[in-house]
């Protein structure tokens, strides 16, 4: 059954023709739109590498049928920076060495962006570790990831006040 859906991805409308309803949002982003920043790790919702924002909320794109999201706003890691100016979470990951091989990083960053909007800028280090538990890093860069999210939270709060 052919299905046509429309997704607003990083501010641009994309019409996508699906041959059948099976493709996940992850596969549509990577294989159909060509946005390969979003990574396929486990493809089963366990690693978080595929995290994107759907209507502003972080979800595992591997466990979401694209057809169900017709009309949704999707933000991927490619949509975070403003030209050459990095998003505060991206900048903080670089500043704090929040990665080693980098494969999980797009998912970590999107998850952190989602988390900071959920917590309203008040999260403790412990709450950040808990809130980021859906993102695995096999290099073990967790200490840097935690520091990056804490710094991004502080910088976003500072920017909000100025």
């Amino acid at each position: 059954m052919a299905l046509r859906i429309s997704l607003n991805i990083n501010g641009t409308e994309h019409g996508v023709d699906l041959e059948d309803p099976r493709p996940t949002l992850l596969d549509v982003l990577r294989e159909r739109i060509g946005l390969t920043g979003t990574k396929k790790g486990c493809d089963r919702g366990q690693c978080g590498a595929c995290t994107v924002l759907v209507d502003g909320r972080r979800v595992n794109s591997c466990l979401t049928l694209a057809v169900s999201l017709d009309g949704a706003d999707i933000t991927t890691v490619e949509g975070l920076a403003d030209g050459d100016t990095l998003h505060p979470v991206q900048a903080a990951f670089i500043q704090n060495d929040g990665f080693q091989c980098g494969y999980c990083t797009p998912g970590q960053i999107m998850s952190a962006v989602g988390l900071l909007s959920e917590t309203g800028g008040q999260a403790s280090a412990e709450a950040i570790r808990e809130g980021m538990s859906g993102n695995l890093c096999r290099c073990g860069a967790y200490a840097g990831i935690q520091d990056a999210v804490l710094e991004a939270q502080a910088n976003i709060a500072k920017a909000g006040k100025s």
Partner: protein
């Protein structure tokens, strides 16, 4: 994944019509169903997408003081809801102790009730499992079964229900509202589930086409708000299913326990309401001695189903811990590690 037909009805009535076809499954958060479809364990002929049914999205206080929660409300929205945090704090804590931030944003109330067991043999389409097809047998009986059931199991199935959210729901006597081809009905969460017997594996009492429309928390459940906790023991501090968990709620007056509510998770094929333990506490002085008696009562009928005898003692300890935490009072704000044995102390409300 097998291919399937896809429908997105606009009303519950149309959803029921579509969902009544043989081989149809409802699609909500998708976090468990798609996982099982990728594993080849679930092969629906059609998916009926209920994600946009407005009538299932609401959280509504009722005139009788109960709280009606639509089946499509996402776990994270429910956990952050002011009424849930104020009146049913153990429900919020259990929700936040489950899964990950991403999964909670997708997973729904109805889907959480319908969660399938995480038994490795059920998840492997090539293993013998009575949940795949009754009569296949059960590879878990002679397999890796350290996390399997200690209560209510038979040799037909020793898997446990994996939900956190359902544990305080069971303790509070939540009501499940179901609509279907034969009309709507409301049943207690206890009656919603079937335990395994000599030939039938466990499951829900839903018939083909029936859909969960809401879960209602009764008004009398609010009296436990000041002393209600959910504690969960797991292999790692976050993002792991319970080895054992406990919801404990106390209503204390004049130094005595006037009413207690207790349910256990990770021990049986359904969230396990421990009425014997509740009875053991009624009228008793809140303290270690009474809590130990209650824990012994809750696990009196427990027996190992494999390499899991340790879960019986663990369940007792986690229940005593949850009862102590409940007696200390619901924390004024949600702990940074909800439901964790490592949660640091916070002032009671």
């Amino acid at each position: 994944m097998n291919t399937f037909d896809y429908e997105r009805p606009e009303t519950v009535a149309d959803a029921i019509k579509a969902g009544s076809k043989p081989g149809a499954s409802y699609y909500a958060g998708g976090t468990n169903l798609l996982d099982l479809m990728k594993a080849g364990v679930r092969t629906p002929d059609s998916l009926v997408d209920i994600t946009r049914l407005d009538e299932l999205q609401r959280i509504e206080p009722q005139k009788d003081g109960s709280l009606r929660i639509g089946a499509m409300v996402r776990n994270s929205d429910l956990a952050r809801n002011d009424l849930i945090q104020k009146d049913f704090p153990a429900v919020a804590e259990a929700l936040l102790a489950g899964a990950s931030g991403q999964l909670r944003n997708a997973a729904t109330v109805g889907g959480n009730l319908m969660q399938q067991p995480r038994c490795a043999y059920f998840y492997d389409a090539h293993s013998a499992c009575n949940l795949h097809k009754a009569g296949q047998g059960c590879d878990a009986l002679e397999g890796v079964n350290g996390k399997h059931a200690v209560l209510g199991w038979t040799k037909t199935c020793i898997a446990v229900h994996p939900s956190d959210f359902c544990v305080p729901l069971a303790a509070l006597g939540a009501l499940v509202e179901v609509d279907g081809p034969d009309g709507s009905r409301q049943i207690s969460i206890d009656e919603f589930y079937r335990l395994p017997d000599a030939s039938t594996p466990p499951g829900s009492t839903l018939k083909q086409g029936e859909i969960i429309t809401a879960v209602t928390l009764p008004s009398d459940a609010k009296r436990f708000a000041a002393r209600a906790r959910y504690i969960k023991l797991r292999d790692r501090t976050s993002y792991a299913f319970a080895i054992v968990s406990a919801a404990a709620m106390l209503h204390i007056g004049d130094g005595r326990i006037k009413d207690a509510r207790i349910a256990l998770g990770g021990v049986a094929a359904k969230p396990w309401r421990a009425r014997e333990a509740e009875d053991a506490l009624n009228g008793a002085e809140a303290g270690e001695a009474a809590f130990r008696k209650a824990a012994d009562a809750a696990l009196a009928d427990a027996k190992p189903s494999g390499d899991n005898a340790h879960k019986i003692e663990l369940a007792k300890r986690i229940l005593i811990r949850a009862l102590k935490a409940a007696a200390d009072g619901t924390p004024a704000t949600m702990p940074d590690l909800p439901g964790s044995v490592f949660a640091t102390g916070k002032e009671a409300r």
